[in-house]
Amino acid sequence: MSVDTLSAGRARRGFRDLPVPLVVIALAAIIYVAAAVITGQTNQISLPGLSGLLQRTVALGLVGLGQTFAILVGSIDLSVAALISSVAVLASYLMQGDPGMIVPAILACLALALVIGAVNGGLVAYWGINPLIATLSTGLILQGVLAAGYTYWSGRVAPEFQALAYQSLFGVPLPVLLLAVLALLAWFVLAKTRFGAHLYAVGGNPDGAKLAGLRVERFVLAAHVIASLGACVAGLYLAARLQSGTPWIGRDGIYDLESIAIVVIGGTVLSGGKGGVLGTLAGVLLFASLDASFNMFGVDAFLKQVLRGAIVIAAVAVYAVRNKGHVA
């Protein structure tokens, strides 16, 4: 192992020494501008156009922030898509258009996310179940309950709550501000607190962290709770944006796969212990630029799905191909 890291350290300089997030952001900018110029839609490169682009990053960015924690600690969360749908449905069911219910509904959604995160974390950290299977299963359970009960749980969010998704402050859309604030918070936790440092330690080397006296299980549990909270906020945002939740908004948005993809594109290592929030934001910006470019070129929905699949694979491959060993 140490031989590998040594030889990687001696790798040639140049492009690869640049911080990953910067490279990704530059790539996103080039793609977006090129698409706008080629299709002649240069009005996209303006303040409203860019603000629209940023608005596209919000839902996936929120999920990605949470997913970053799960992946950093060496786990993964595939239940986020189902949780997003559940939160959106729960929020619109509880509100039924009544502004007085906004706060209780948000609290109920956060409570749901806490429970799901704790269940995920418990299954992974304390029971030792493979995180892919554990979170896939909790996602399936949520999705099934939603699909079975949806007919009884229809509703819509309060207009005041909906307004939050469309208002701006100093010309910046509120949801974008929300993402920025939460990203800053996540960055602070990971980079500046003891908890963050311990998360990296647990993700990088669980056995070593355990020997150093860290309660590894607690950190895995906490990371899963944070991942669920990220999905919860994303679900609330989508409910506000779309006026009411449906049981399929999470699945149709492919938030599970895409959140993992943006985290990995941003340079966070799937095996844990290395990476950060800035990379995730860069990853989501790249995806939003690609999406916007597809729209400018008028790519049809099915073909877009094909391209997305190919891009996810290619994006992960760019980093993974340098691995020396074999992957699962």
Binding site: L123, N130, L140, G144, H326, A328
Partner: protein, 327 residues
Amino acid sequence: MTAIPDTARPARRIPLRGLNFAIAIFVVLYAGIAVLQPNYLEAALFMNFLRRAAPLAILACGQLYVILSGGFDLSMGAVVTLVVLAASMLIGGDPEMSWPVIGALYAMGLAVGLANGAIVAFLKVPSIIATLGTMLLVNGLALAWSGGAPRGDLPDNFRNLGRLVLRDVPLVGTLPVAVIILAVATLLMGWGLHRTAYGRRLLAVGDNPRAAELAGVPVKPTRISAFVVSALAAVTAGILIGGFSGVSVNAGRGLELQAIAACVIGGAQLLGGRGSVVGALFGALSLFALFTLLNLLGLPQALRDSLQGVILIAAVGASVLRHRRST
């Protein structure tokens, strides 16, 4: 180190243990069905049960190859959808075209399997991401090709593969063609896994790829081959599904997870190293028996997903506990 000459013995014994577990579950569940609907004990209805469970069982055996090699194949359901849509588009109701098109379908499966394998083995993309990506890709291609609304009918000679029941067969009375295909497929895959050097290499790769490599196993070709087997199994299942449920854009949705669940129920260890075709077969039959049972009990179809989640957690959790005790 001294244990190396003995490896053949535990490998022979472990499939037996997986076999007992899944068979027991299946017998219990089928007994439950028989209590609610006694005529399920008749040979004809049992054969019909096997016929409907055949695609899932074949998928599970294919998935087992990938699981044993240390990965997951999440693109199976998308391949089933592609097969069903492509068959209806290419055949266009012309019985003459059925056999050439089936050849073309297997070629498509081969391509998907090779792509999955190459992405995992050469590009080092973790299989769960790689196959989720190809799942999106293949699904998107199938939908784009059919425009989201498939045209064309499947002719009878194609549909008969999944639908036809041979009557007046000695011993069993009725014998669906799908059951014959199931028997041939499982025997073939069981032979490949448990009776050949290739099967041993696959298990070695799943157990510890680095060690297998040092021992001279061609790791990359072995892993690629597992994805190819899985994709070809998905094509076979797709042909059967097209035969008895007809053409739909949702033909394969969720099947990849059912196949994984079946393998886990059958005692396969995730991320490789342990498992058997008999286990996967009876895992699939158990899962299907459970679905049938719940149908008879009148549980909403949508809760199937939830139940599958519970089963996955229970099956993997149980194997974790068993291992914790033994080590």
